[in-house]
Amino acid sequence: MNELLLLALAFGRISLGSFAGGLASIALIYHEVVIHYHWLSPEEFEQMISLAQMSPGPIAVNAATYIGKRLAGLPGAAVATAFMVGTPIVLLLTIAYTIKFFPLGTKAKHKITQSLRPGVAALLTASALRLFSSSLGKPIYLLLAPLALFLLLKSKAKDQPSLAIILCGALAVATALAARAL
């Protein structure tokens, strides 16, 4: 099948399942891109996620741009990004239109949001475990975890997660440099 069509479908699905922001989408991206289509190796997936979280913009949109470009150049990047961003907007317009005819009470809306919560928790857990199992490939890096925990919870960088993540990368490089010098 046409690569652009596959990209559109894959990122449309990822977008539909990404509730509560980008971090939950990691599990979905992994499923589509690594398990289902084999577009990226697990190794390249890790690198991409790391880079996507360091750079500005939603992590899932960054992933869409990256994978779209790898597969089909500029048209691929544009299509994947457009479907990642556009799917919820189309959904929103559809819901807004439907609600005109079948109004939802506050209670029903609350119930729907509540019922999605366990799913979001599951997506986040699955995402974290995927990243954890891939980090086991080079367990020495796990020594950075306490530092990351400190940066994200206690330091001034806690409101700037990207900064904390870049610092983790920088420390890894500094350690590697020091190890070489010795």
Binding site: H36, I49, P58, P118, A122, Q160, P161
Partner: protein, 177 residues
């Protein structure tokens, strides 16, 4: 106004590093600074953008842009918000990643960063898990079931739908606000 919207979202997307929730805080302040907050009901737009699927940043950009200047405003806001990351990833990523495999330091940098991402996801997950624990047994069991299904390689969207049906039918006996 269209131009203002475009540049406001361009700037916010570049400066608010770290995902949706950082962006929310940033844009709230910016809208107040421009005294556009009389034109749009920011708290309710935030509520809608976070309960929709998809990236929060672009959902919120669209909604704010739309309240300010209709559909054109919405599309302009999205364009402003995704242009910087699009260009950065488009031009920078291949440079880093193609040599990344061969360049030891780039690989080390990204691998170190990944530990940060993992801890960040774990922290966020733990907060959500705590909330789910308070929602009662059905919610918690469905959470465990969905996680196992996802890790077994079932499509997350499918697992999510099963969990949603279970929860909307039987879950959430003890509602929390």
């Amino acid at each position: 106004m269209i131009k203002d919207i475009f540049f406001l979202f361009l700037k916010s997307s570049l400066l608010a590093l770290g995902g949706g929730f950082v962006f929310i805080g940033f844009i709230e302040l910016e809208i107040k600074k421009k005294s556009w907050d009389s034109l749009c009901d920011i708290p309710s737009l935030i509520a809608v953008s976070t309960s929709l699927p998809g990236p929060i940043i672009t959902n919120l950009s669209y909604l704010i842009g739309k309240s300010l200047k209709g559909s054109i405003g919405g599309l302009t806001a999205i364009l402003g918000a995704i242009l910087p990351p699009f260009l950065i990833i488009y031009f920078l990523a291949p440079l880093l990643m193609n040599q990344g495999a061969s360049n030891y330091f780039v690989a080390t940098f990204l691998r170190g960063g990944l530990i940060g991402v993992m801890v960040f996801v774990l922290l966020t997950a733990s907060r959500w898990i705590c909330a789910v624990c308070k929602m009662g047994a059905v919610s918690f069991i469905s959470y465990v079931l969905m996680t196992v299904l996802m890790l077994m390689g079932v499509h997350p969207l499918f697992a999510l739908s099963i969990g949603f049906i279970v929860n909307i039918s039987w879950g959430g006996k003890r509602d929390i606000e």
